[in-house]
Symmetry: C2
Subunit: 446 residues, 2 copies
């Protein structure tokens, strides 16, 4: 790691939008026409030998400008800070950002402002891993448990997880880490795929993609449900027939239902042996998820991609509301808060199966799952990371899937950097794609 | 109400900041230096005879620009809409705003984006009340229960409150409404005051203001606590001595504590007979509030000013986590969502004591409390609206306090409109105050 007196000289933000709504990829019961987008931030140091740190919040189109404005509102916390100090203690910045007494009012620790914090904090971790010459999962797995514990904000957690308990979990997690690292590098981390199951696909395409997924080595696929029960019954039948009885079939309602409806609908699909029902109701409804879980067992309840901070995850675990914790790399306050959530899940013995997809969520979250395997939970049993085959070619270090597994990244960093040419082309509204699109639209309406 | 084919022609936004951090007014354990601010919106119709509709989100300084950007991101939902249609059914706009599938990702229904929705929805209600020639509380109290029920989004609520139950509550609430309207116009609605209890005040000022509040007719005051226990013990003793044994003394920790600490600290102050402990921990922690409530009784637990939507209030009530529901007029999705929360509180028999203060929160929320009294709960027993004597002179229809009561507004509208000269002076950064302030700062640093 370079010794340096470099400081952060620029916090550059970009509004990047991909026109995914032009196809039906990514359609579900709540999100019929997403334009997958990134409110993207690059931290640049004044030292010429210093790498840049990349981070982003993921959005689905409109409002990406608001998300960029929120990242911009944080820049005074980062500009001028020592690069070496930031990388030695990202948690100090994370706490400064969440404790800004005026910005805190806009959350606290939720929504646009909190996702902005996550983007900046993740950019620092990207920078730290690049400077260390390691992929982030390895930086985390190699770190001392004592130091990792300092990276966590235990505020509001101590009724469920104390610093001493976290330290114990991390120390225990280290046992056998070298062996698991070897296994991870050889085999990768299990993935499941959502690509066959978008609501916009017809049955033929669903059957073809579902069978293809199994042929590609996936042991779990996921279907979007919740728009129409008759359609869902038919689609589940098609999917189950295509994958056979032994491949797991997960269902995702994307928050479509009230609690009683979630119970009725899930039980109406039980004959197809679904593995989990994901986001059956409001992501804020801890007690609602607990009620659904009690009523739909043995179908498991999964949620978390929209759970806005560690306090929500704490309660989901305390209330016995979930069988599966679905962290998202770009929803909460970055790596530090996700470490807290991984530790909470480990404390309660609940498996973590990260949410991914969108733009770059696969690239980021694989690192957290791999750290969890190597140095915390110590197992991949009943654990899978979501995989969606969208937009990876825009990244400099894209995910690699082999035989239904994420190959462990080896390049230094958090795999967060977009290709410069993709940034230039898809910057909204001035990039080449959008400028040409606006011209086409004007041509049609003139 | 004018028959009209007017449409919304402009959605004008303003970043307005008052330099309240220059004094110590408004300081508490989490918010040491707020600059009370409004992300302000004016809906202007194209008909010259049409009034404008005013609304705002309240912030405490930095990030007010992000909040303005979020309001701006909603304008396409409002521009060109029929004024008559909007005012006949504000709930239709509210649902369009919360259902925008792309913007929804930025919440959903929480934080910056949701407060922006609240600002726009409240501006429509201001417009509707002006066109009806009634103060908002009266517009709501006069409305048919059947229509009011259509104004509520029951999504995620039906496990706790169904449309039929809401209709029953509203029908029962109507009985005796005429008599209560007369009482309200004669006596006003009970207030309590936070003005004596800011953390920045010394004991002499605290004692003087507390005694003054009682002399002014207030039967409850509130103290900020949570920074230092020894200080709090001393300040509670001073305040209790100043107000005597019969005036209620509420405490407000502003989210400062973890659950175990909240229990210890509150019980350490029990000898001063506090009426409630407000925001003892994270506003997201439903189960935490329930644990605190069990452990500090008979001290009551109050929360809600940062509860981000109806789903959180639903759970606070389902879990028995609160004795007092504190709605805020500018945190959730506007009047429509607050109607849902008032109905939930009525269903569970929990009194609503609104949060106010800041910029204009008193002006807005008094209308909701008065509606609750006249046409829903039917009582002011154990109910008080917070009052803070800040910044009211910037409003065209400021609140009036008489003998510890809010006088019922009689001017048409939601009391939301700022004086044009205040908007001009405090617009950030270009208004006269901030421009001169920047010049002063440059002078000092040159």
């Amino acid at each position: 790691m370079p010794a340096t007196d470099a400081r952060i000289a620029a916090v550059d933000t970009y509004d990047i939008r991909f026109p995914t709504s032009r196809e039906l990829d990514g359609s579900d019961a709540m999100n019929p026409d997403p334009d997958y987008s990134a409110a993207y931030v690059v931290l640049r140091a004044d030292g010429p030998a210093e790498p840049a740190g990349h981070g982003f919040a993921f959005t689905i189109g409109r409002g990406n400008d608001v998300q960029v404005a929120a990242i911009h509102a944080l820049r005074h916390h980062v500009l001028g800070r020592s690069v070496a100090d930031l990388c030695a203690d990202p948690g100090a910045l994370y706490r400064d950002l969440t404790s800004d007494s005026q910005l805190r009012w806009l959350g606290p620790e939720k929504g646009v402002m909190h996702m902005a914090i996550g983007a900046v904090v993740n950019a620092v971790w990207d920078l730290a891993a690049r400077r260390a010459g390691k992929p982030l999962w390895r930086l985390l797995a190699d770190a001392e448990p004592e130091w990792l514990t300092t990276q966590i904000d235990f505020r509001y957690l101590t009724d469920a997880l104390t610093p001493d308990e976290a330290l114990d979990l991390l120390r225990r997690g280290r046992k056998g880490a070298a062996e698991r690292t070897g296994d991870l590098l050889a085999t990768g981390y299990p993935a499941y795929t959502t690509s066959p199951g978008w609501l916009g696909y017809d049955d033929t395409k669903l059957a073809r993609l579902a069978a293809g997924a199994v042929a590609d080595g996936f042991r779990q696929i996921k279907l979007k449900v919740g728009a129409d029960l008759d359609d869902d019954v038919r689609r589940c039948r098609v999917a189950r027939a295509a994958v056979g009885p032994d491949v797991r079939l997960a269902l995702d309602a994307n928050q479509r239902w009230d609690v009683p409806e979630a119970i009725r609908w899930t039980n109406a699909l039980a004959e197809f042996d679904p593995y989990w029902i994901e986001e059956p109701t409001s992501p804020d409804d801890v007690l609602g998820h607990a009620a659904v879980r009690r009523a739909v067992a043995p179908v498991k309840v999964a949620t978390g991609e929209h759970a806005h901070n560690r306090v929500v995850f704490k309660q989901l675990l305390q209330a016995g509301a979930v069988d599966i914790v679905q962290i998202d790399a770009a929803r909460v306050g970055g790596v530090n808060e996700n470490l807290a959530i991984l530790l909470l899940a480990a404390k309660y013995g609940v498996p973590v199966c990260p949410h991914a997809g969108g733009v770059g969520l696969c690239e980021l979250v694989q690192h957290l799952a791999m750290f969890d395997y190597v140095a915390l939970s110590g197992t991949t049993e009943d654990r899978v990371v979501e995989y969606v085959d969208h937009l990876h070619d825009h990244f400099l270090d894209p995910v690699v899937i082999r035989e239904g597994h994420y190959a462990a990244p080896t390049a230094p960093g958090f795999s967060a950097a977009l290709r410069p040419e993709s940034i230039a082309r898809y910057t909204y509204p001035g990039g080449a794609f959008w400028a040409a699109d606006a011209e086409r639209t004007e041509g049609r309406t003139a």
